[in-house]
């Protein structure tokens, strides 16, 4: 995990600020992700983790620097960011309710002429729940199924870095395990992951490094092993 082994980070946030109207939500976030790395972003509710993700994707206006593969992407239209190889699974899931599961997946593909590593059928096979509902309108899926669908849809676009916001929310324990495995699987395929998560068990199991956020800035960064020893951080910033 030596940083100088690979001098160019995949994603680098430098002094990132963001606002909702007048409220200043992010006050200077610094964070970097190396290629192939899985990063967990922890923190209490409302500290601004989702906002960080949105600022990267251009859904809220980022002030400061957001560099992806060395290129400044702050202020870019989000489809261009996506085309650079960033994938995003939002907290709100945002499935397309009137379309079938299959059509949802198809929309994940950026370019029909250049399909990616994953095919729709593979996905449906990997998640039998989805496979059963492949031709149903996505709007009728159960909460958990929707979560799976969102993740699969993003993968269809072959991202190099994928930002996943609270993937296990509202999932049955068994499925939480499954999702954990899936994320590990994705990581194995060489995709970098920025995982915004509450459930420490999952986060610590998969992550290469852990960041903890508090009040709109990063208050801790380190390996899971180190983090395990930092009772103080957990007390102060994660209320466990």
């Amino acid at each position: 995990m030596s940083l100088d082994a690979n001098p160019e980070p995949m994603l680098q946030l430098t002094d990132l600020h963001a606002y909702y109207g007048k409220s200043h939500v992010l006050n200077g976030v610094n964070l970097e992700i190396m290629p192939g790395e899985v990063i967990a972003l922890l923190g209490r509710n409302g500290v601004g983790r989702s906002t960080t993700a949105k600022a990267i994707m251009g859904e809220v206006v980022p002030v400061g620097s957001v560099r992806f593969k060395g290129q400044e992407i702050g202020g870019m239209a989000n489809h261009r960011i996506a085309r650079l190889g960033l994938g995003y699974v939002p907290e709100s899931r945002d499935i397309f309710p009137t379309m079938t599961v299959r059509q949802n997946l198809m929309l994940g593909i950026k370019n029909m002429r250049r399909p990616g590593k994953w095919t729709i059928d593979q996905m449906l096979e990997m998640f039998p729940n989805l496979g059963r509902r492949a031709d149903n309108a996505a709007g009728v899926l159960s909460g958990g199924e929707k979560q799976m669908l969102t993740m699969c849809r993003t993968l269809m676009g072959d991202p190099e870095l994928i930002i996943i916001d609270e993937p296990t929310e509202g999932l049955a324990p068994l499925i939480v395990q499954q999702v954990g495995e899936m994320i590990a699987e994705i990581a194995k395929a060489g995709v970098s992951i920025l995982l915004v998560e509450q459930k420490l068990s999952i986060a610590l199991k998969i992550a290469d490094r852990v960041y903890v956020m508090g009040h709109g800035e990063i208050v801790y960064g380190g390996t899971p092993a180190d983090f395990a020893t930092r009772e103080d951080i957990r007390k102060e910033w994660l209320e466990v």
Partner: protein, 310 residues
């Protein structure tokens, strides 16, 4: 027999024109969810541009150029107007186009005057194709038939065979998400709107000389276009086609019926000299489409062929 044949022939042509006019709206309405009130104004614009181009060059150039120009105007409107309004929801979009209709109508009056222009059917199409029961059947109507068929096929391809339709529908519910998946939503919106307007423009090129090209043509065609789109069913091209033909035939054949309500409902005691009884079917023709609209929405809100509610 004679009446029937004529009703069919004329109804079909009127229906085809209605279809041409509404196909662009179907495209815009179903893909972007925008009830484009200015649609008929783009139709008018097409007719006027075609008139000007025809004056300078020829009808055949106008046939291609005018729709392209109208489409361009549509794209500009989308880029600098509609896009801004989009975030405020459908009502705002609709009102925007509502105001736009006023604007286009007035601009047309500035450039082309308040009275009809002399936009005529081109010489080579201006001959009677055949004579039936003493009435001539102009060749231009067959031309209309061909253009309509071409539009039907082109649109069908666009809607069914391209992924653009899917992307736009998705963007209706979650535009950000669609962008995050790597699709250039604004560009697609602009293109679709432009294409829809171009179709209206094409209808204008064809309909402007079949009817009359004057500043009132937009207002007159406006509401009926909505009837076609809604009755046909949202997003359904086939539906729009069927509805257009249905309305065309309905209206035309109603005109040829001389019977009054008293003749029809006489058996339940409706007198021929009562006010209700005096009304003839022919005089009810213009309100039939709206009757159809209300009935359809009440009985089958999805329209004839629609796959979702309006």
């Amino acid at each position: 027999m004679e009446t029937l044949v004529f009703a069919l022939l004329n109804g079909a042509i009127y229906g085809l024109l209605l279809f041409m006019l509404s196909s662009g709206l179907t495209l815009i309405f179903s893909m972007m969810g925008v009830l484009n009130f200015a649609h008929a104004s783009f139709y008018m614009l097409g007719a006027y541009l075609a008139f000007t181009i025809t004056e300078g060059t020829s009808f055949w150039i106008a046939l291609f150029l005018a729709p392209v120009l109208v489409g361009g105007v549509g794209m500009l409107v989308e880029r600098y107007g509609l896009r801004k309004v989009h975030a405020q929801g459908h009502v705002a979009e609709l009102l925007f186009t509502f105001g736009l209709a006023y604007l286009i109508d007035e601009l047309v009056k500035i450039f082309w005057g308040r009275t009809a222009v002399n936009y005529r059917v081109p010489e080579i199409l201006d001959f009677p194709l055949f004579t039936l029961y003493g009435a001539q059947y102009p060749a231009y109507r067959i031309f209309i038939l061909f253009v309509a068929a071409f539009m039907l096929v082109a649109l069908w391809y666009l809607l069914k065979k391209t992924r653009a339709g899917l992307i736009i529908q998705a963007a209706l519910s979650h535009p950000h998400m669609v962008g995050s998946l790597g699709h250039n939503v604004p560009l697609i919106f602009m293109t679709v709107f432009g294409a829809g307007c171009a179709l209206a423009g094409l209808a204008g090129v064809i309909g402007g000389n079949y009817f009359v090209t004057d500043p009132a043509m937009a207002v007159q065609m406006g509401p009926i276009v909505f009837v076609v789109v809604v009755v046909g069913g949202l997003g359904s091209l086939e539906g729009a086609f069927i509805a257009a033909m249905l309305i065309g035939l309905l209206q035309t054949s109603a005109i040829s019926i001389n019977a009054s309500l008293a003749d029809i409902f006489g058996f339940i005691g409706l007198g021929a000299d009562t006010e209700l009884g005096e009304i003839t079917i022919a005089s009810m023709a213009p309100m039939l489409p709206f009757l159809l609209l209300v009935l359809i929405l009440m009985i089958r809100p999805r329209g004839l062929m629609g796959d979702r509610e309006v």
